[in-house]
């Protein structure tokens, strides 16, 4: 069994920095979820966690295990890849759903159906 406390200082420092930075970025993203006023604004907030946050923390993990267990297979990459591939799907679908719902309610802040097309009166009803 290995323990984190066996980590040499030269590795510990970058690991700590990466960890703190990653979680801080994630926290800021989540704060954005609170602070940003509109839904479309908030749509951007989780991406901080899913991009920088994930990458930084995964890096920390890679370093830790590489050093501690002398293991050079970085399966954390998988997490990065999957997060990058799957988060957009959620956000895209959510964004479209929000857009649709706002259009139904005839909200002023959202554009009509994609540019080049003027909203028809019937569309305003829906």
């Amino acid at each position: 069994m290995t323990h984190l406390t066996d980590l040499p200082l030269w590795a510990a420092i970058p690991v700590c920095i990466l960890l703190l930075a990653g979680s801080a970025v994630t926290l800021v993203g989540s704060i954005g979820l609170i602070r940003l006023k509109t839904f479309y604004g908030r749509l951007h907030a989780p991406t901080l966690g899913s991009s920088a946050g994930t990458v930084l923390i995964c890096l920390a993990s890679m370093i830790t295990f590489a050093v501690l267990q002398n293991r050079w297979i970085f399966h954390e990459v998988l997490i990065i890849v999957f997060i990058v591939l799957t988060t957009p799907v959620t956000l895209m679908l959510l964004g479209q759903a929000a857009l649709y719902r706002d259009r139904i309610e005839d909200s002023e802040v959202v554009p009509r159906k994609a540019a080049g097309e003027t909203p028809s009166p019937s569309e305003a009803d829906i």
């Binding site: 799907v89 895209m92 679908l93 479209q96």
Partner: protein
């Protein structure tokens, strides 16, 4: 022989059932020969018991409990057996002519024979429990006999009442008899009869007495349980003649007499039995006078005579007992003949109403003469048998037995009742046979066929012969009977017509004179009066009984059922939770529960933070579940996520993985269901609506919920803070690798140590999937959920409104990019499932997790492409997967048999292959494969079945619309 005596009627009964309905005569012959056989057998046994010994026959039935099929024939039983068989034979002859061809006659004789058998069994029982057995049997069969003409409402009611009253009494008596067994230590009649003192001195004596008397008094229709008997007159007359003369009602007398040596002689006995007997005697006679129905009159007279016998038995003197036994015989003869006579009149004239009948002497002189003699016997006219026993009764009545009021009034009551009895006998004869000729009778009266009258002739002859020369005819038989009951206490008595001028004779004369006078006074009143006696007309026992029964068993029962029970789920849940809380609290505090000291120092702040989030999720989910279902579901997901994190934190990676996967599937599942539920309930809690009671109810619910939560918290904290006891897990931890062949102990437990649990668990999953599938095939959505969701309607309308768009463009466009990614995810998730599967035995994962992961891959495709799109491309056979999975898992377990090991014994081995190296092979993997297949199949089936509703419902709707259009057009 005894066995034959009891069994023959039952055999005959079954045989009669097999006779076709129209062959009434055959069944009559059958019944007659059985009755004759019984009579002959019983008669043939007389020499054996004449010496005073009892004949016994015993077969083991329930020997451990002291219940044997013991038959015992002594003089008293013999006397009854002869009565039962002889009168039975006569009634059969009579019934042969009485019953009409349109009735199912074989059924009548079948029941009749069964009743005879039960009655014989009752009197021959040598075991108390057997006695109770036949006792209830007589009640039940009499119910069927009384209700024989069940098209008639009176017959139904009468039958029901008879059964209810006598059955209830019988059940009480049953307890009493068991108690006697408890006191005496045996149910054997011989033993019981020898233990009179033990019983009378036992603290339970009064209880026993009351219980047994309840049985006996109800059966023999003693006041205040007499009311069923007149109602039972709705039965066919042969039934009445049999039941109310020699058999059913005499069963109570039989029991009282039988147990007389062990129960009688105490104050309790005297008071209860005496009071019942005397009041029945008097009231029965009084009521009889005012009956307009011939059978009603006879019924009340029966009640009265039974009261007489009971009163005799109450006195506790041996001579009285002799009188009782003697009167039992006599009453049977004259009452049977009177009933038959009444039946003939009813049969020939079509009515039994004495107001309509009159002057029948002209039309049927022979029958009239017979009836007159029998009625005279009933009235106690000298030279007939009724006179003899009544004389004995008077003699006993004037004796002093106990110094109390009841004993003092006995002679007066006896005389008065006798006056009444003369009155009603006179009335019976006079109003039916004398007076002007009858007019507008339903039928023209004439003499019945000779053989129908023959039984009456025989019985009346018996009355006469016994009345004139008692000592020579019934003397010895009576003596045998008396001796078998009283044993050494048998008194000296003489059976003679003439005992000289004495007080009893005086009383008889007073009765005759007074009765005649009374009749003459009331003659005109009776000829026109309405049914029922004055003063007591309102007090109709059966009506009170009916009302009580309805109130008790219907109104009260319902209101209790409503009050003590509930059909509402919420109440039931509250009760369940409240009881659980109570159970836990009581147990804990009976042990002096002391919550473990709360320790703050080992709290991990991050973990605490996570749980703050978790608790907020839980409370939020609970709060939102009413108003915002989607939000509640989201929050539920949050709580689940926190649960997962907890599992990871606290060293349970397997649980975390499984919980996560299940979480995802559950969310999709509930969302699929949410489609068919009402969307959102607007907050209706406007303050005006919130009455105080609603608030209080909520407060109570909240208090209970908080209490339950607090309880769980305290208990779990207490357990978790304790040292772990010596547990069976050490065994698993030590042997998981060495003997189970895997390093992931949890997985080894699941597939090996406790693989049987897993087999059961996947079975449950399989069952649920099948149930869901079956239920959804019959699913009918609520009407407002039937049409497509409003979003789709809007989007489809939008597509329709725009010429450049096709229907369905919106959804295609919406999913254009996401579906690409979702599709490519399919093999990736599949690989993940394979990964989870293969590593399960050594690291977190396993067949279950793999199965769920794989099913998520499929569901994702359904979400991306829709049901039809996927099913055009992928053939998934969830049912087959399930069947294969369960079979594989079981077969793996069975494989161990071949090697002589029990089910599910696993085998693991490492196999070396060139290039690849050592690979582990464990049969447990095969088992896990079964788990995988089943979980995959079941999960997919559940989700897909639910998803299919979106396709099915519109299709069904369209079909319905088409059908409607076709019908319209």
């Amino acid at each position: 022989m005894l066995l034959l005596l009891v069994l023959a009627p039952f055999v005959g009964s079954i045989a009669a059932l097999c006779i076709p309905a129209h062959k009434g005569t055959v069944s009559a012959w059958l019944a007659g020969s059985i009755a004759l056989f019984c009579l002959a057998t019983a008669a043939g046994l007389y020499p054996v018991i004449a010496s005073g010994k009892a004949l016994r026959y015993s077969v083991e039935w329930l020997p451990e409990l002291g219940l044997n099929f013991t038959l015992r024939l002594d003089g008293f039983a013999w006397m009854f057996a002869i009565l039962i068989a002889a009168i039975g034979l006569l009634v059969v002859v009579y019934a042969r002519y009485y019953m009409s061809a349109s009735d199912p006659v074989p059924r009548f004789f079948s029941l009749f024979l069964a009743f005879m058998g039960a009655m014989l069994g009752l009197v021959l029982s040598g075991n108390l429990i057997l006695l109770a057995f036949f006792w209830e049997l007589t009640s039940i069969i009499s119910f069927l006999l009384i209700g024989y003409w069940h098209q008639n409402a009176a017959a139904r009611d009468g039958a029901r009442m008879a059964l209810t009253v006598t059955g209830t009494g019988g059940l009480c008596m049953f307890i009493g008899l068991i108690l006697i067994g408890h006191i005496v230590g045996s149910y054997d009649l011989d033993v019981v009869l020898a233990s009179g003192n033990v019983i009378r001195e036992h603290p339970l004596y009064t209880t026993v007495l009351v219980l047994i008397l309840l049985g006996a008094l109800t059966k023999s229709a003693q006041f205040p349980f007499h009311f069923w008997l007149p109602q039972a007159m709705a039965a066919p007359t042969p039934v009445s003649a049999y039941l109310h003369s020699a058999t059913l009602v005499k069963a109570g007398i039989f029991l009282l007499t039988r147990l007389w040596p062990v129960l009688a002689g105490t104050d309790q006995w005297f008071w209860i039995v005496g009071l019942a007997g005397l009041s029945t005697l008097l009231l029965g006679a009084y009521f009889a006078i005012f009956q307009q129905d011939m059978k009603g009159l006879l019924a009340y007279s029966t009640i009265s005579h039974l009261g007489l016998i009971t009163a005799l038995l109450s006195l506790g003197s041996p001579l009285a007992a002799v009188a009782a036994i003697f009167h039992t015989m006599n009453h049977a003869t004259f009452k049977a003949s009177l009933f038959m006579a009444a039946g003939i009149i009813d049969h020939e004239t079509g009515t039994r109403d004495m107001r309509r009948l009159s002057g029948l002497f002209r039309f049927m002189p022979f029958t009239a003469t017979l009836a007159m003699v029998a009625a005279a016997a009933m009235a106690g006219v000298p030279l007939l048998n009724g006179f003899l026993s009544k004389e004995m009764f008077f003699a006993e009545a004037i004796e002093t037995h106990k110094y109390n009021l009841l004993d003092t009034v006995t002679p007066y009551v006896a005389t008065l009742a006798s006056i009444f009895s003369v009155t009603y006998s006179l009335r019976f004869i006079h109003s039916v046979f004398f007076g002007p000729p009858p007019h507008d009778l339903p039928k023209a009266p004439h003499e019945p066929p000779h053989w129908m009258r023959a039984p009456i002739e025989f019985l009346v002859l018996a009355c006469l012969v016994v009345g004139v020369i008692p000592a020579l005819t019934v003397g010895p038989f009576l003596h045998t009977a008396v001796q078998s009951v009283l044993g050494e206490a048998t008194p000296v008595y003489s059976l003679a017509v003439w005992h000289g001028w004495n007080v009893p004779l005086l009383m008889s004369l007073i009765a005759l004179a007074g009765g005649t006078a009374l009749f003459l006074m009331m003659k005109s009143y009776l000829a026109t009066s309405i049914e029922g006696p004055p003063l007591f007309r309102r007090l109709e026992g059966q009506r009170i009984f009916e009302r009580v029964l309805v109130t008790l068993s219907w109104k009260w029962a319902r209101s209790i059922e409503m009050r003590a029970g509930t059909r509402r789920l919420q109440q039931q849940m509250r009760i369940l939770v409240a009881l659980s809380i109570a159970a836990g609290t009581i147990v804990l505090f009976s042990h002096g529960f002391n919550p473990a000291k709360i320790l703050f120092r080992s709290i991990d702040p991050a973990f605490a933070l996570i749980w703050l989030v978790g608790m907020a999720c839980a409370v939020g989910a609970a709060y939102q579940a009413k108003f915002h279902r989607l939000a509640s579901l989201v929050l539920l997901g949050g709580a689940g996520l926190v649960t997962c994190l907890t599992f990871v934190w606290l060293s349970a990676p397997d649980l975390a993985v499984t919980q996560l996967l299940v979480e995802i599937v559950t969310t999709v599942l509930i969302l699929l269901g949410l489609r068919w539920l009402p969307k959102r309930i607007e907050n209706q809690d406007d303050p005006a609506m919130m009455t105080i009671s609603v608030r209080l109810r909520r407060l109570r619910d909240l208090a209970m919920a908080v209490f339950a939560g607090l309880g769980m918290m305290l208990i779990s904290y207490t357990v978790m803070r304790r040292e772990i006891p010596e547990t069976i897990s050490s065994y698993f931890l030590e042997r998981a690798y060495g003997e189970g062949g895997g390093t992931n102990v949890v997985n080894v437990i699941l597939v090996d140590f406790r693989g049987f649990d897993t087999l059961g668990e996947i079975g449950v999953l399989c069952i649920v999937a099948l149930t869901v599938f079956a239920l959804l095939l019959r699913f009918r959505p609520a009407t407002e959920s039937l049409e497509a969701p409003e979003q789709q309607r809007f989007q489809n309308a939008f597509d329709d409104d725009h010429p450049d768009r096709k229907k369905g463009d919106s959804i295609t466009e919406y999913l254009l990019v996401p579906s690409v990614i979702m599709r490519w995810m399919f093999p990736v998730i599949g690989m993940l499932a394979a990964f989870l599967f293969f590593r399960g035995h050594d690291l977190p994962g396993g067949g279950f997790a793999a199965g769920i992961a794989m099913s998520i891959a499929f569901i994702l495709q359904y979400m991306a492409g829709g049901t039809r799109w996927v099913e055009e491309r992928l053939r998934i056979h969830p049912l087959r997967w399930m069947a294969i999975g369960l079979t594989v898992a079981t077969a793996t377990g069975l494989g161990a048999w071949v090697f002589g090991y029990p089910f599910l014994t696993s085998h693991s081995q490492y196999i070396s292959l060139p290039v690849i190296g050592k690979i582990p092979l464990a049969t447990a993997i095969l088992f896990d494969l079964g788990v995988f297949a089943l979980v995959l199949g079941a999960t997919v089936l559940i989700l897909i079945a639910l998803a299919h509703q979106s396709v099915r419902a519109p299709r069904a709707q369209a079909r319905a619309a088409k059908t409607a259009a076709k019908e319209a057009g």
